[in-house]
Symmetry: C2
Subunit: 345 residues, 2 copies
């Protein structure tokens, strides 16, 4: 099965996307894989198997590799004696900006390139944590209470200490702080505003139970991963998360009741269908007093959450066989025809 892994991107998560791609490569050894790197200047390069290592990119060796141009139907590789088309399904593994904000989805949809990953609309609703709240609430899935602040109104925080400050549009814990008292606030705001103009404030609940569940839909059926209880650190900072993105060993299933598994799956299904079709996503939940709360939706989880699936390669294969197709609009020029006929032209 042919598949191209797209990674990199002009994103704060550029480096973890490289790590993710290398990890996923190792887990899809039965595929006929290609690798397409998107650099920080939004140029695409075809990377050969032997060069799929982190230093290729950190040392800018990719600049010597074949450049690709996205055109109708796929990627074009121009040469001295004509051009070659790469028309492969793509696994979008660009985390954060570009990959998860809807840009790549818009490009691929526009050019008719088939891909695994969230579509434009799904991307937008999961990329901005503020919109994720609107979306989850409208679907009847609980979320923690929150406030939105911008640089101009940051003095009006009503949430009592301790609280978490998160940049609205970043993943991988970048720019996130727990603020326990007023003296810590200014610094935490400075850090978060480095990355985004809008921040979310949520109450910080010490010792809250967290559960992650991944899944995807193929031919109308959702396949769920095992439920994971992520390691007990207050939250993952960037360096820990960076290592986290290279995870490839299957994790131990969380010891949870059947009731909780059902609750998590029900919430997942409500959020996933039909918006996230075509993607393998991971939803991170809290559980408080028997109620499940959505924390966030990762529409392109680190290393595709391979470690949560019994048969990861089978999952990717199933997704490839069931990718959404954009409805074509055929234009008949009925109005222009009728007007030009009326004019006698």
């Amino acid at each position: 099965m042919k598949l191209a892994i797209l990674f990199g991107g002009a994103s704060y998560e550029h480096e973890i996307s490289i790590v993710s791609a290398i990890t996923v490569k190792g887990k899809l050894s039965n595929f006929d894989l290609s690798f397409i790197f998107c650099d920080q200047d939004h140029r695409f390069y075809l990377i050969d198997d032997a060069n799929m290592k982190a230093t290729t990119f950190s040392r800018a060796k990719h600049l010597k590799m074949p450049q690709l141009t996205l055109v109708k139907g796929g990627f074009e590789q121009r040469g001295l004696f004509g051009s070659k088309m790469h028309m492969l399904p793509i696994l979008n593994l660009i985390h954060g900006g570009d990959g998860e904000d809807g840009s790549i989805a818009a490009l691929f949809d526009f050019y008719g390139v088939s891909f695994i990953g969230p579509r434009k609309e799904a991307s937008m609703l999961s990329f901005d944590k503020h919109y994720t709240k609107w979306f989850a609430q409208s679907m009847g899935v609980q979320t923690l209470p929150y406030e939105v602040i911008t640089r101009n109104n940051s003095k009006t925080i009503a949430t009592p200490y301790p609280f978490i400050i998160k940049p609205s549009c970043l993943g991988s814990s970048i720019g996130v702080s727990i603020v326990r008292q007023e003296s810590e606030l200014a610094y935490a705001l400075d850090v978060a505003f480095e990355f985004d103009t809008t921040l979310l404030i949520e109450p910080f609940i010490s010792g809250v139970k967290e559960y992650n569940l991944a899944g995807y839909s193929s031919r109308g059926e959702i396949t769920y991963s095992i439920v994971e209880e992520p390691q007990k650190v207050e939250f993952l900072d960037f360096e820990k998360k960076y290592l986290d993105f290279s995870r490839s060993a299957k994790v131990t299933e969380a010891v949870v009741s059947d009731t909780l598994v059902s609750q998590l799956r029900d919430a997942f299904k409500i959020l996933y269908t039909p918006l996230f079709e075509g993607a393998l996503i991971r939803c991170d939940f809290f559980e408080i007093d028997g109620v499940v709360y959505l924390n966030e939706i990762n529409p392109i989880p680190g290393s595709m959450a391979n470690y949560l699936f019994e048969d990861f390669s089978g999952a990717i294969n199933a997704l490839l066989g069931s990718l959404p197709i954009k409805k074509e609009i055929r234009i008949q020029y009925d109005y222009i025809h009728s007007i030009s006929q009326a004019k006698g032209k």
Copy 2:
């Protein structure tokens, strides 16, 4: 001043985009204009001035004109003896899908092409009427109550008759019906579901006052158009709207109180800033018992609402001088460097 007008698109509003472009061409005669047509297959063509008429496209004559490829920085025109770059600011005049759903914005942002039009996020929030409701409500701007229905749950409408059915993601009144009694419902649903999978139901208020206000921001200041009270038809059907998109004669200002003008402008400003920067938008409002309600946001209004501005060409010029620039992310490879150093590689 150089400017390229982009029009067409794979959209139900393809034909009215052509009409819009021809109209705007007539209103910007002091510009050095180019014309880029996006056909229903998402191919771009450079159209010369003499061919800027509706029959060029309805008779597929554009297929003989130079094809353009979107690349980093602009549109590339390939020839036998090398290629030529068209690096111009673009006026996005693709109505509906592609132009207003965030696709074109994502493409231009990705490739660093400067353009007049809503950015990706602004597009998404205004394109889907359901998201527009969330957005307006979160900003404290009133909207009419509504229900969302999909094909599978359309039997549960709670709104009393008469009500309006609208496809969630279409403009120009396409697929819209007023339903006065149950006998009309099935047909109205059929029509609307032709165009979209999600519909909005809103109460139909006979004789409600409607006011349209356009505007744009340049160098931090919003310039408002005059307030228009659109002609009293219950709503514009597609054919009337089609003619409406060719409007170029300045309309008469609505006779309204200063209080109402302030209310409309205040609501406009709240919605516009900062999300719609870079665009000239038209907001359509209702007024009921002294309260202003947002009906919809047109982020690329028909013929750019030129007929609402005293100095339309000056408006486009001011916008061009103040287009938002996407923040660049520079990647340092700090983590990969530190890891490869630790490994001694």
